[in-house]
Point group: D2
C-alpha cells in the first residue's frame, strides 16, 4: 500500500506522516506539496525531520493517482475546495483533513469560512468521517472532522442520541492549545502574548459550529442550535470541550451513566471515565477521547468533560482511523499509541 | 494609620503587604503570625522580601488592637472562625480575606468548607464586602469576597439585577491560575502535572458557590441555583469567569449593553468592554475587573467574559478597596496600579 | 517637565510609558511615532492601553524639541542611526533605548547590526549609559545599554574592575525570555515552538557582544574577548546571565565576596546576595539587578548569577534611571517598584 | 522474556513500563513495589495507566528472580544500595536506574548523596552503562547513567577522547525540565514558583558530578575537575547541556568537526548536527542525543550543545538500550521512537 500526503509542512501533516511511517499496512509514503515546482528535501522543508532523506514532490493529481492508492490532504481551508474534483471524478480514495468538504451547502461554507466553496456536487460526495460513529468503509471521499467538532460531538453523542437533554440548552465551552491555530506565527500565538494568558476568540463564529450542528441534527433533529465558545490556552497540544445541558424531566445520573457506557462500550478510542473527570494529559499522544460526566441535581444540569489530542484524535489520528475503516484494516492499526508521560 | 496583617506567608498576604507599603494613608504595617511564638525576620519567613528588615510578631489580639486601627486577616479557611471573636466583641475593624465569615449559616459553612464554623453571631456580624456594590463604609467586620465569586458576581450583576436572564439557566465555566490554589505544593499544582494541562476540579463542590448564591439572591430572589465549574489552567495569576445564560423573552443585545454600561458607569475598577472580549493579561497587576459581553441571537444566550487578577481584585486589591471605603479614603487610594505588560 | 516618547508600540516603549506616567517629576508625556502621518488614538495602536485617551502624533523633530525637554527613543535598531542628528546638533537631551549609538565605530556597528551606521560624529557624541557605573549627569545623548549587556556587565564588574579573574577565561551563558525578541511574531517565538523548549540563537553573533567588550575594556584593558551565548527560554520576562571565569592565582572566596560588597554598597538598584543565588522572579517587575556568586575552589572558577527584568533594568527602567541622573532627580524617582509576586 | 520493574510510581518507572510494553522481545512485565505489602492495581497506584488491568506485587527478591530474567530498578537514591545484594550474589541481571551503584567509592557516594552507601563489593560489581560507549554485553549489574551525566558525557566525549581541549577549562551549564526533579511536590517545582522562572540549584553540589568525572577520567586522565552548574527551567521534559572548553593550541574547527563525526558515525542514538544547534524539542520523545558544536576562534573556545529527553535517553530509554546490549538484541529494539511534534 502506497499512500500520498499533501501538506506535510503543517502540524497535522507532520503528525500524520509520523503515524503513517509506523503503520503496519503502509509500505511507502509519497509526499507532495501544492506550493512546490520541483522536488525538495523534506529535511529542509520541515527541520523536525532532520534525519529523513525523503523528497517532497510538486503536486500532481496524475502522479498521485498513478503511484498511490489513497491521498491524504492535510492542507488549510481553501485548498481542497479547488483540488478535490479529479479525485471525486475518478472515484479515487481521499481523506481530507481540512474543513473544505465537511458541510453540505455552498452558502453555508462561504458564510463560515469566508472563502469560495467547493461545488455542490463535491460537497455531496463527501462522507463526514466522525470515525467512532460513521464508518468510512466503502467511502471514497472522507471529510475528516475538525478537532473541536470531534471532542464536542463525542462528548454530546450519548446525551443527544438518547434524547436525555433539552436540545435547546446545549452550551459548549471549548479550550484549545496553540497548535490548533497552525504553524504560521500570529500575534495571538506569540509566546509573549499567549503565555500566562487566556484568550476567547471567534465568539459564535467558529467554523466548526456548522459541522457540529449537521451531525447533531443527523442524530436528533430537535437540536436547533448550540452555544459554542472557544478559548486559546497556553498549552501546545490538546482540547478540552466542557459541555453543559439541562436534562429532560425525569432523567437522572444513572440513566446518563448508562447511556455513556452503552454508547462507548467496545469503541477502542473512547474511554468513558464516569465521574473521574479527565485532564488533558490523559490523552495527549494518543488517538483517545476520554469523557467524564457529572450530573448536578441542584441545577438539573449535566456537565461532560471531553478531552482529545487535537493533532491526533482531532486530526491525523482520526484520519488514520478512517483510513483503517476504508481499507478494512484493524481499526487500531498504527494507532496503538501511548500517552505522553508525565 | 497603623494596620495589622496576619498571614504574611501566603500569596494574598504577600501581595496585600506590597499594596499597603505603597498606600498613602498607611503609616505603618505590623505583621503577626498565628504560628509564631517569638519574633522572626520577615526576610527569612518570606524570601521574596529579602531586603525587608521588618520583624513578624507572634499573634496577639491585645497587641493588635492596642497598636493598630485595623487588622487584615489573610489566613486560610479555618483560622478566623476561631480568632474573630475578640475583635467582634470590641467592635474593632477587621478585613478578613478568608472565607470563614462570608456565609450566614453555620451548617452551610460546614457543608462547603468541611471545617467547624464560626458562631452564628459572628457570621451575622460580618458584612460581605463585594466592594463595587456593597460599601464597607461604617462596617466593622468585612468578609472580603472570594476570587471566583468576585469575577462571577461582577460579570453577572447587570443581568441579574435588571432581570434580563432566565434565572434558572446560569452556567459559569471559571478558569484560574495556580496561585489561587495557594502556596503549599500539591500534586495538581506540581509543574510537571499542571504544565501543558487543564484540570477540572471540585465539580459542583467549590466553596465559592454559596457566597455567589447569597449575593445573587440578595439582588434577585428568583435565582435558585447556578451551575459553577472550576478549571485549573497553566498560568500563575488570573481568573476568567465565562458566564452563560438564556435571556428573557424580548431582551436584545442593546438592552444588555445598556445594562452593563449603566451598572458600571463611574465605578473605577470595573471596565465594561462591550463585544471586545478581554483576555486575562488586560487585568493582571491591577485591581480591575474587565467584562466583555456577546449576545447570540441564534441561541438566545448571552455570554459574559469577566477577568480579574485573583490576588488583587480577587483578594488583596479588593481588601484595600474595602479598607478605603471603611475609612472614607479615596476609593482608588493605593490602587492606582498598572497592568503588568507585556 | 514634558517628555517625548518615540516608539510606544514596542514592549520597551510600552513599559517606559507606564513608568513615566507614574514619575513624580514628569508633568506630561507626548507620544510620537515615526510611521504615522496623522494623529492616532493610543488605545487603538496599543490595545493594552484601552482606557487611555492620549493621541500619538506623527514624528517631527521640530515639535519634539519645541514641546518637550527630552526625548526617549524606544525604537528598533536602524531608526536613530538615521534620526539622531538634529538632536545632537541642537544639544537636545535624548535617551536612546536602541543599540544604534552604543558603539564607537561605524564598521563595528555594521558588522554586528547588519545595517548602515550612524555617523562617526554621532557615535562619538553618545554616552554609554550603564547607569550604576557611568552617570548620565550633564550628558546630552545617552545610549541606554542592551538588556543582556546590563545583566552581564553588572555581574562581571567587581571581578573585572578588581582584576580578580584571568581576563582570558570569561564565559557567559545568558538566558532570556521571549519579550526580549520583541513584538513581531516569528517562528522561534511562536508559542508552539517556544513552549517546552530551549533554543540557543546567534552563537557568537549577538549584537550585545561589542558593547559589553567596550565597557569591559574601559574597566580593564586586559580583557580581549568574551565567550557569550544566548538561549531563548519559555518565560515572558527576565534575563539570567550565568557568568564563569577562572580566578587569578591566590584569589579566594573572601576576596570575591568583598569586591562585590564594596562595588555595590550604596547602589540602590544592585543587590549582591552572596551565595544565595537569585532566581529570575526576584527581580521581575523591578529595576533591580540581583547577583549571587559562588566560588568553586576545586576548579578555581567563580560563577556569578546575575538576573534582571529585561524590560525594566534591561530597557525602560534603566532609561528612567538615566533620566533621573541627567536632570539631577533622586536616582530612584519613579522606580520604587515592587517585585511581581508570586 | 519476562522482566521485572521495581519503582513504577516514579516518572522513570512509568516511562520504562511504556517502553517495555512495546518492546518486541518482552513477553511479560511483572511490577513490584518495595512499599507494598499486598497486591495493588496499577491503575490505582498510577492514574495515568487508568485502563491497565495489571497488579503491582509486593517486593520480593525471590519471586523476582524466580519469575523473571532481569530486573529494572527505577527507584530513588538510597534503595538499591540496600536491595542490590541478593542479585549480585546470584549473578542475576539488574539494570539500576538510580545513582546508588554508579560510583566506585563508598565515601564518595556518601559525600554526594548524603546517604549510606552500598558495600564496596557491590560498587565494584556494577558496570557504568553509558550505552553509546560502554557496552553492557555480558554485564550483570548495570548502573544506568544519570540524565545530566548522559547529556554532558556525550557532548564532551569527542573533545576529551581526542585530547582536543585543555582539560582544565571544562565548564558545563546544564538546564533541566521539572520532571528531572521527580514526582514529589516541592516548593521549587510548584507551578507558581517554577513558571516564568529560572532557578539555579545545587551549585557545585550536583550528585551527577562524580559519575561524570569517573567517566571523563576513564577516557582521559588529564581531566581533574569540571565546573558543572544546573538550572531548573519551566519545561516538563528535556535537558540541554551547554558545554564550554578552551581548545588546545593548534586545534581548529575542522578537527573538532571531524572528531564528532568519527565518534558518532554509526551510533544510532547520537546525531551530530554540526553548527545547527539543536533545540530540546528535537529529541523529546526519543532516545536520541543531538549535539551541535560551534567553535569561536576569537576566544579559542568550543561550545557544544547537547540535548536529550531526560526520561528517555537520560533514564528509561538508555536502560532499554542497555537491556538490548545485555541480551544481544538489536540495539534499537523497542526504541524506534519519534519526536513528539510539534
Amino acid at each position: 500500500m502506497q499512500v500520498a500526503v499533501v501538506g506535510i509542512t503543517g502540524y497535522a501533516g507532520m503528525v500524520l506522516y509520523q503515524l503513517l511511517r509506523q503503520h503496519p499496512e503502509v509500505d511507502g509514503i509519497n509526499l507532495y506539496d501544492h506550493k512546490l515546482t520541483k522536488n525538495e528535501k523534506l529535511s529542509e522543508m520541515v527541520p523536525a525531520f532532520y534525519t529523513d532523506e525523503t523528497f517532497v514532490q510538486p503536486y500532481s493529481p496524475d502522479s498521485i493517482m498513478a503511484d498511490n492508492q489513497l491521498v491524504f490532504f492535510a492542507t488549510s481551508a481553501g485548498v481542497t475546495s479547488k483540488l478535490s474534483r479529479p479525485y471525486i471524478e475518478a472515484d479515487f480514495p481521499v481523506i481530507d483533513l481540512s474543513g473544505d468538504l465537511r458541510l453540505n451547502d455552498e452558502a453555508e461554507y462561504e458564510r463560515w469560512y469566508h472563502k469560495p466553496s467547493a461545488s455542490k456536487q463535491a460537497l455531496n460526495s463527501a462522507h463526514y468521517g466522525l470515525a467512532d460513529f460513521e464508518s468510512a468503509h466503502e467511502q471514497k471521499y472522507v471529510a475528516n472532522p475538525g478537532c473541536y467538532a470531534t471532542a464536542t460531538l463525542l462528548g454530546l453523542a450519548p446525551l443527544v442520541q438518547a434524547d436525555l437533554i433539552d436540545p435547546d440548552t446545549i452550551i459548549v465551552d471549548a479550550k484549545s492549545g496553540t497548535s490548533g491555530a497552525g504553524k504560521n506565527p500570529a500575534q495571538s500565538t506569540h509566546f509573549t502574548q499567549a503565555n500566562d494568558n487566556l484568550q476567547i476568540y471567534k465568539p459564535n463564529q467558529h467554523q466548526h459550529i456548522p459541522e457540529i450542528m449537521l451531525e447533531l441534527q443527523h442524530w436528533n433533529d430537535h437540536v436547533k442550535a448550540i452555544q459554542f465558545m472557544t478559548t486559546l490556552i497556553p498549552i501546545t497540544r490538546g482540547i478540552m470541550s466542557t459541555i453543559y445541558a439541562k436534562v429532560e424531566p425525569g432523567v437522572d445520573a444513572k440513566q446518563i451513566d448508562r447511556a455513556y457506557k452503552q454508547t462507548y462500550e467496545g469503541k477502542p478510542f473512547v474511554n468513558y471515565t464516569g465521574e473521574h473527570l479527565p485532564d488533558i494529559k490523559q490523552v495527549v499522544g494518543t488517538n483517545n477521547c476520554n469523557i467524564g460526566v457529572v450530573y448536578n441535581p441542584v441545577t438539573g444540569t449535566v456537565m461532560a468533560d471531553s478531552v482529545i489530542d487535537n493533532l491526533l484524535k482531532g486530526a491525523a489520528g482520526q484520519a488514520v482511523q478512517n483510513f483503517n475503516q476504508m481499507f478494512d484494516y484493524q481499526e487500531t492499526s498504527g494507532l496503538e499509541l501511548q500517552t505522553f508521560l508525565p
